[in-house]
C-alpha cells in the first residue's frame, strides 16, 4: 500500500509585522514557519494505516510545494515515520493560490500513483480548505472532504469514513481506493518523534525537484491559478471591542461588573 500525504509549511505572523513594499506580502523577518496543524493529523492517519496493514512494501510519502523552509516540515514527517519526502519549488509558485498548488501536487501524485492521498482539511495560514479537493479534481480521483474517522478494509480496498458536517452531525460513507481524503483535526493523536528518529530523518530520502522534472511548465502553473492577490491590509474590524485596561485585578473587576449588569438586565 502506498499513501501520499500532501503537507504545507505554514506562516504565523509575529505580534508586530510589516508588509513588503509590493503590498501583497509580509516581511519574512516577522514570520514563523511550522508544519500545518492539520497535516500532523493526516500524516498520523497515514502512518497508522501503514501499521495496521502490516508487512513489507508499504510506503508513506510526504510531499510539499514550498521553499527551503518547508524542508523542516518534511524532516518532521520523516522523523515521525514517513519513508521519503518530495519538495517541489519554482519561483513562479511564490504566493500561489490553492489551484496552482494543486496543479503541481497533481503532477507528483500522478508520478507516485498511490492508493490513497491524504491532505489536511485546510492550512492555518491561508484557510482555503480547497487544495485537496482541487487536487482530486485535476486527477479525477474520488474524494471525501473533512474526514474525522477512517477505517480501511484492505481486502476490498475500501475506506469507511466519517464526514464531519455542521452543527454536530456526521455522515458515514464508503469510498473505494484510489481516493483522496481531507483529514480533520482530532481524528487521531499525532505522535511525537524521538530524538533518535529526528537525527535519523536526515538520512531518509528527501527529493527536491522542479516543475520541468514533473513535466510541467511555468505557463501551465500560472494558467491554473484561480486568483491574484492585489492588496493585503489589516482588516477593518469595525468599532471593535471596548478594551478593558489596567491590572488583571482591574480587568477582573470590570468583567464581574459587566456580567452582573448584563445578566440582571
Amino acid at each position: 500500500m502506498k499513501i501520499v500525504v500532501a503537507v504545507k509549511q505554514v506562516a504565523a505572523l509575529d505580534e508586530e509585522f510589516e508588509l513588503l513594499d509590493d503590498g501583497v506580502g509580509v516581511d519574512p523577518d516577522y514570520v514563523e514557519w511550522d508544519l500545518n496543524e492539520w497535516d500532523t493529523f493526516s500524516l498520523e492517519a497515514a502512518l497508522q494505516l501503514r501499521e495496521s496493514v502490516g508487512g513489507e512494501g508499504h510506503e508513506v510519502v510526504a510531499v510539499t510545494v514550498g521553499e527551503e523552509e518547508a524542508e523542516e516540515g518534511l524532516l518532521s514527517c520523516l522523523a515521525k515515520g514517513a519513508d521519503r519526502a518530495v519538495r517541489v519549488w519554482d519561483d513562479v509558485l511564490e504566493g500561489a493560490d490553492p489551484l496552482a498548488v494543486a496543479r503541481v501536487l497533481a503532477a507528483i501524485v500522478e508520478r507516485e500513483a498511490p492508493d490513497l492521498v491524504l491532505c489536511g482539511v485546510q492550512s492555518s495560514d491561508a484557510v482555503n480548505g480547497s487544495t485537496g479537493t482541487a487536487l482530486a479534481g485535476y486527477l479525477d480521483l474520488p474524494r471525501v472532504a473533512v474526514v474525522t474517522q477512517l477505517e480501511w478494509d484492505g481486502a476490498s480496498g475500501t475506506a469507511t469514513v466519517h464526514r464531519e458536517l455542521e452543527g454536530g452531525l456526521l455522515e458515514v460513507l464508503r469510498i473505494r481506493a484510489p481516493a483522496l481524503l481531507t483529514i480533520q483535526t482530532g481524528i487521531n493523536e499525532p505522535r511525537y518523534a524521538t530524538l533518535r528518529a529526528i537525527k535519523q530523518a536526515r538520512e531518509k530520502p528527501l527529493e527536491v525537484t522542479g516543475l520541468e522534472e514533473l513535466g510541467l511548465d511555468r505557463g501551465a502553473v500560472e494558467a491554473a491559478a484561480g486568483s491574484r492577490t492585489v492588496a493585503l491590509a489589516t482588516p477593518d474590524r469595525g468599532a471593535g471591542a471596548e478594551m478593558l485596561n489596567g491590572s488583571p485585578a482591574a480587568v477582573a473587576a470590570r468583567i464581574v461588573e459587566i456580567v452582573r449588569e448584563r445578566m440582571s438586565g
Partner: protein, 319 residues
C-alpha cells in the same frame, strides 16, 4: 458570459440558510455582472425548494434532479459543471460549507475558473473582485480574477443577510443533466453527535475556554470558576480534538451555535469556525494575550492579558 449563478444548499430535506445569504451577496454585483441572478438547487427533491428560493432579487430558480437522496460530492460536481456550461454565468457563488469543500474546488480546477474560498466581500470592477482573510485572518487580501471568463467563489456563511421572500412567485425551470453512475461514494448513514451531559445552546452565560489554558490539568480550575460565576463551561475545538472535553461542549461551526446573554472567552483566539458559532451572543467579553487575536473583532469588551492572572483575580473578586 454574464450574470450570477447561486448554488443553493440543502440537507436532509431542509434548505440551509446560507443559500439565501448567497442571494444577498449576488444581488450586490448582479447589475454590474450584466445579467440575471439564477439560483440552482440540486437533489432528488430539488422541486420542493423552488418556493423557498423565490426570494427578492432572484430571476429564476433552476432545478437539477439528482439520483442520490443525499448530497454526493461527485454528483454535485458534475451537476455544477453542466450548469456552468449551459448557463454561462460570469460568477458562481456557493457557501463556504462542508458540502462545498467536497466539490466546488474540483469544479474550479477542472474548468480553469477564477476561484477564491471563504470570501467575505464580493465587488465588481471590470470583473469580480473578492476579499478574504490571510495569515489566519490577521490580514485581509483583495483578489482579482483577470482573464477568467467565469469565477467561482465560496462565500463565508453568516456575513451576508438572509434575502427576504419575493412578493410574487419566481419562475422555475428544470435542467436535465445525466447524473446516473456519477456518484463515487456510498452513503451509509447520518449520525448525530451525542448531546452529552449538558446543552450549551440553552445556557444564558457561557464561560468558554480555548487553547490558551495550555494543559488538561487546568480544566478543573475553570470548571470551578464557571460554577462560581454561575456560568456553563464551553470550549473551542482544540480542547475537544485533544480529548480533554466532550464534543457536546464545543462551540463553533462543527460544534454548537450558541446565543447566550454573556459569552466570556478566555484564551480563545477566534478561528473563523469558532466565531461562526458564537458571534450572535448578546455580549462577548474576550481575554487573550495576543492583541491581534481575531476574537477582538467580534467582542464587545476585550482585554489583552494573561488569562491565568485574570482567572486568579476573578476567583478573588468572587470570594
Amino acid at each position: 458570459m454574464s450574470g450570477v449563478l447561486v448554488v443553493a444548499e440543502t440537507r436532509r430535506g431542509e434548505l440551509r440558510e446560507v443559500s439565501l445569504e448567497l442571494v444577498s451577496a449576488a444581488r450586490e454585483v448582479k447589475d454590474a455582472a450584466g445579467g440575471r441572478l439564477v439560483v440552482a438547487v440540486i437533489g432528488a427533491d430539488a422541486d420542493r425548494f423552488v418556493a423557498p428560493l423565490g426570494v427578492e432579487g432572484v430571476d429564476e430558480v433552476l432545478t437539477v434532479s439528482a439520483p442520490t437522496d443525499n448530497f454526493e460530492a461527485h454528483v454535485w460536481q458534475r451537476a455544477l459543471e453542466a450548469l456552468i456550461e449551459a448557463e454561462r454565468p460570469a460568477l458562481v457563488l456557493t457557501g463556504h460549507t462542508i458540502d462545498s469543500l467536497g466539490f466546488a474546488p474540483a469544479v474550479a480546477a477542472r474548468g480553469a475558473l477564477g476561484f477564491a474560498a471563504d470570501v467575505v466581500a464580493v465587488t465588481w470592477a471590470d470583473g469580480p473582485q473578492a476579499r478574504r482573510g490571510a495569515y489566519g485572518d490577521k490580514l485581509e487580501a483583495e483578489l482579482e480574477f483577470a482573464g477568467k471568463p467565469c469565477t467561482l467563489l465560496t462565500v463565508r456563511p453568516g456575513i451576508f443577510p438572509v434575502a427576504s421572500p419575493a412578493g410574487e412567485s419566481v419562475p422555475a425551470r428544470g435542467v436535465a443533466v445525466d447524473l446516473e453512475g456519477v456518484a463515487r461514494t456510498e452513503h451509509v448513514e447520518f449520525v448525530e453527535v451525542s448531546a452529552g451531559d449538558v446543552d450549551i445552546t440553552k445556557a444564558d452565560f457561557l464561560l468558554s475556554i480555548g487553547r490558551g489554558i495550555e494543559d488538561k490539568d487546568n480544566i478543573p480550575r475553570f470548571e470551578k470558576l464557571a460554577e462560581r460565576l454561575g456560568a456553563t463551561l464551553s470550549v473551542s475545538r482544540p480542547l475537544v480534538d485533544a480529548g480533554w472535553m466532550p464534543g457536546a461542549r464545543q462551540v463553533g461551526q462543527s460544534g454548537k451555535t450558541v446565543k447566550p446573554r454573556v459569552y466570556l472567552a478566555l484564551g480563545i483566539s477566534g478561528a473563523v469556525q469558532h466565531l461562526a458559532g458564537m458571534r450572535a451572543a448578546e455580549t462577548i467579553i474576550a481575554v487573550n494575550s495576543d492583541p491581534e487575536a481575531p476574537i477582538f473583532g467580534v467582542a464587545h469588551y476585550g482585554a489583552v492579558a494573561d488569562l491565568f492572572e485574570v482567572a486568579d483575580e476573578l476567583e478573588q473578586a468572587l470570594e
